[in-house]
Symmetry: C2
């Protein structure tokens, strides 16, 4: 006997089938009322909105009504009628209520009052039952789907690059080791070192920091590919912007130069924003109000200049400003905060690495729109980025967003075998281990490009959540692998 | 200056814009011809089909033509004309050819001849440039997209469950350890044991074997969710069906009982198959021919009974047979191979675990169609599966496919706190570590169900590839973490 004969609240609200007898199931957010009538606000996660259940104590047994407390899960059968109150067009008058699972009001932690985000992080297994987190995770879903739809529509192929890898050539940061050895008593070789030949992969293995290099292999066969998978950094960073485990989207495209790459990245970001504006209106409205509320307690100059959806519309409609590193350095050198030494890192010479304060100045004060910064000094960028004609810069680009800083990093890749191997030698990157990467430049090489988008940063930008731990279901950070 | 002004071969073939001058780029599969004319078969990965480039030695310089060898990457500008030969409706007469990257015929390993799958596995960084593997990875992409589209259309939300986890309660197999400790000299506590308090997560951590338990947390807030991410087994299995790193799809649904669960799984599998039949016709046609070819060398009784696409259509159109474990045991006990002791494991008593030989007999000999086996003895299934009224069986289901065996495993989950904790006690599963899992049964519990689909098994079934290492870009197996 099939149990799932319910109507989702989302479709109830969309259709309001007045007069129909329907079954809904969900979790009680609040119950209020008096001796004569009870109003239950029911939520099933399909939408941010609750649905009102009218329960007449003459129709529903007393003990059932008593068990209808915040957090309880119930099954309601009843007739859809026009709503008497404001706020929604229809409601259900319950013929019967069945309590599927109760929630002891003395113990259930999510009582109807304001909870801090910090507290909710401690109960990440329950926080998706709140309005804020259900909205965040519905928006996260919509963004994920938009990623796949965008690339599928354009003829890109999704590639699953390896999570466990023996190569760490990107040097993007500290890695986690993956092993099946007995940590308390690992086998040793004749030199007294750990004998990784006895490990599962018969060599040292790590969790990937990026799928890019493997993505390039696929792009040099299928033309246009993208990855969307977890990546890892074993950095001891306890900030609102860092996770040890996070998801990245990394498209790689044969036949794209730096300009094609920037065009694609800009188009892609605007598509994602446009998609959620179109598909997540009610969730964004809620998150916008939440952010306004949260910022009330901040000094005026630290509040967002625009409401959440205005900011999203603004970015979706802007032409991203395209500026070279060299131009940016000149702007920064002549900027007020630089002259008055207000920057923590004062910009003096060409070649300086840009800090987040500089990026934010460019985006938020100078250009007042998203910025694509390109052509960085080769010394501060990775070995695989294509060297420009000037011999000093590489065809790298970073996309900077207001409030969040760098959201995309990418480059045209060095496709010239001789230039690439010279650079690897210079940077002490072992070529023997990278034979497969170099093979793609040996055989049928071609100009190609790619970029990476940190997915959680994008979810933060779209939802207005200040802490990256609040946009992934079960965040992994130093000292935290709970759930 | 944007470089990417090319037309993809897929759209050239679809549109055949006779008379237009276009630019195509891609990799040379073959070149043939004579003094007067050269025919280049060009592939850009957008489709299984090559596009014919006609190169007249009077128009194209000799050294360029000489560099046009198998594997070289070229850019061709020329006019689209009606094809003189058969096989395709149009071709390009080249005005100019630029060699973007050559491929030394003495060294390039993918010369136009038959290569074994084993050899190609050694050069996984290049194998996507072959017809077989480009077809496999295009189909894999289409299947991935179909997964997301199916669930998105149904209102499910995509959840990224954690990859690194401190819980290993599912007990689904050996896990990989994740650590930042110095394996050669790990810190020890006062008892001389490895001091995991000094590790990154301040406790022992593993790679996940399943996102199910965390998926349940999300389902009990958002109603219907799914995961699609990497999972890991540190098992020393060198078979054609096992990987150390593979991708799983795990939907979890509140308000679904066992029957709802089976209905969803059957509908989902049929949707995926229907999607690729509709969207990957040319790739499937190629893979079907490849399989026929491969099976020519096998004895007649080991060949597939149906051609690949016939098999897919048959499964998409069948009603899956629904059989309880108890019924299956009776069928097997009375079967010829059991009576004649042809099974390696002869079925005697109720309670026996089914082996792959039994599953295949049921699917391929007895029912001759996909089978949903349900209600297994509780002793041979996991603690979280819902106990049936009989007190002996649980509401588990496995879906068995011809040729491949178990492709889906799932169950209604035990939502009753008292039954669940009694079972955990019985099975020695530590309840303290699982406080968060139990909380969902303490607060607002409800009937719910879910299942897991091993994505690579599905890709194998759809593509007809016999070895699971050939359906994931860079397989991880014991002793192998290359690329």
């Amino acid at each position: 006997m099939s149990f799932n004969k319910r109507v989702k609240i989302k479709s109830l609200l969309a259709q309001s089938p007045i007069g129909d007898t329907v079954t809904v199931m969900g979790w009680i957010r609040t119950k209020r009322g008096n001796k004569n009538v009870n109003f239950i606000a029911l939520n099933d996660g399909s939408t941010i909105l609750n649905y009102q259940i009218v329960a007449d104590p003459n129709a529903i047994q007393e003990d059932v009504l008593k068990a209808c407390t915040t957090g309880a899960c119930i099954k309601v059968k009843g007739k859809v009628v026009e709503s008497q109150g404001s706020g929604q067009s229809s409601e259900i008058v319950a013929d019967s209520i069945e309590v599927l699972g109760s929630a002891d009001p003395e113990k259930y932690p999510l009582q109807p009052k304001k909870h801090s985000l910090e507290f909710l992080r401690e109960i990440a297994h329950l926080r998706m039952r709140t309005s804020t987190f259900s909205a965040v995770f519905r928006v996260r879903h919509a963004l994920s789907f938009a990623v796949h739809k965008y690339f599928n529509d354009k003829g890109f192929f999704y590639i699953n690059t390896p999570i466990i890898t023996a190569s760490d050539a990107e040097g993007a940061g500290e890695t986690f080791k993956v092993t099946t050895l007995d940590l308390g008593n690992p086998p040793k070789n004749e030199n007294g070192e750990v004998d990784f030949k006895k490990d599962f992969f018969e060599r040292e293995a790590n969790l990937t920091v990026s799928g890019q290099l493997e993505g390039e292999l696929a792009a040099l066969a299928l033309s246009e590919i993208y990855t969307f998978g977890p990546t890892f950094r074993a950095e001891n960073s306890n900030t609102t912007r860092h996770l040890a485990e996070f998801w990245m989207i990394e498209p790689e495209m044969a036949f794209y130069d730096a300009e094609d790459n920037a065009d694609l990245a800009e188009d892609f970001l605007k598509y994602l924003i446009g998609y959620v504006l179109e598909n997540c209106e009610q969730d964004l409205e809620f998150l916008e109000r939440r952010l306004l509320d949260e910022e009330k307690s901040k000094p005026a100059d630290q509040r967002s200049e625009m409401a959440l959806r205005d900011k999203l519309r603004f970015v979706a409609d802007s032409n991203f400003e395209r500026v070279t590193y060299t131009e940016a350095i000149n702007i920064l050198r002549n900027s007020k905060p630089n002259k008055k030494k207000k920057f923590q890192f004062v910009i003096e010479d060409w070649g300086a690495d840009l800090q987040s304060e500089h990026e934010r100045y460019l985006v938020e004060k100078h250009f007042k729109k998203p910025v694509i910064l390109s052509d960085y000094p080769k010394e501060i960028k990775s070995f695989y980025m294509r060297e420009n004609e000037d011999g000093k810069t590489v065809a790298a680009m970073d996309i900077l967003f207001p409030g969040i800083g760098e959201i995309v990093g990418g480059s045209q890749r060095e496709e010239r075998l001789d230039v690439l191997t010279a650079k690897m030698e210079e940077m002490n990157i072992p070529q023997e281990e990278m034979w497969w990467f170099l093979d793609t430049r040996r055989f049928g090489s071609t100009p190609h490009s790619g970029f990476g988008l940190g997915f959680e940063r994008m979810v933060q930008f779209v939802t207005g959540m200040g802490n990256i731990r609040d946009v992934i279901a079960f965040p992994r950070t130093p000292g935290n692998a709970e759930f």
